[in-house]
Assembly symmetry: C2
Homo-oligomer: 128 residues x 2
DNA sequence: CCGCATCCTCCCCGATACTG
DNA sequence: CAGTATCGGGGAGGATGCGG
């Protein structure tokens, strides 16, 4: 493939911005959870385990702002708020799956590279 | 497509880790530059413009540790250090291109969603 | 030329407490 | 149940200076 089809620097920054969003601590997990179907706030919280309310709220807000998630409020008491992926949000699974496949197929190779690198580091320490 | 083929949570974290790496401030730009061919440290520095030495060094070290980039030192005076993508590093362009395409094709949609969201925010401010 | 060490700043994120 | 407000630690990242 052409190695430089990531286009101009401006577009590259845009892509980087998206990668930062998806690559932050919780977004991918939230998107994955919502990929299995709409969820209420607390359901997401339980499903993700260790996330704080603040970060779940922030993550969902960001996703909502980018049009990847839609937020539906039912003003009852107690209130019900449901989150669901938009079509655009579901489209994200395609590219993510590509990255996921790459990661999985190269995981061993990466681990080996890290072990080799860290081993070299350690031997440098010993030499000193 | 199946929306939940991002596998188990452990694998998901692994993918997230990779996304964080690629999604950090400089990695994608560095990889893209190296995709056009091997580069020396200073050449990368000039090409990327505003990156500090510290961050360029750190970024390259991380890539090297993960086996995506190889570092070749020629011990002359002054020393020459050349960086190049490994095969695994070049393989990354496939998945990245998928994400890049998604980002480009959805850029307008994201901008519209953000404008709508921010517009709503502003009107809430006025209402208060 | 390459890269490490130091200092400083800002923001991410968690913990906690409080509203409707 | 859903969300906001506040505080605090820690890491990312820039600027500068030194060393090989």
């Amino acid at each position: 493939m052409k190695p430089c089809d990531t286009h101009d620097t401006g577009t590259c920054q845009r892509i980087s911005e998206m990668l930062s969003r998806i690559g932050d601590k919780w977004t991918l997990l939230v998107v994955r959870a919502l990929g299995r179907g709409p969820r209420r706030f607390s359901a997401l919280r339980r499903e993700l385990g260790s996330i704080s309310q603040k970060m779940l709220t922030r993550t969902l807000r960001n996703l909502e702002r980018d049009g990847l998630v839609i937020r539906t409020v039912t003003p009852t008491t107690p209130p019900q708020v449901e989150y669901a992926l938009t079509t655009m949000g579901e489209d994200l699974f395609g590219p993510i799956a590509a990255l996921a496949d790459w990661t999985i197929t190269h995981a061993d190779c990466i681990d080996a590279a890290r072990a080799a690198y860290d081993g070299r580091e350690a031997s440098i320490q010993r030499a000193a």
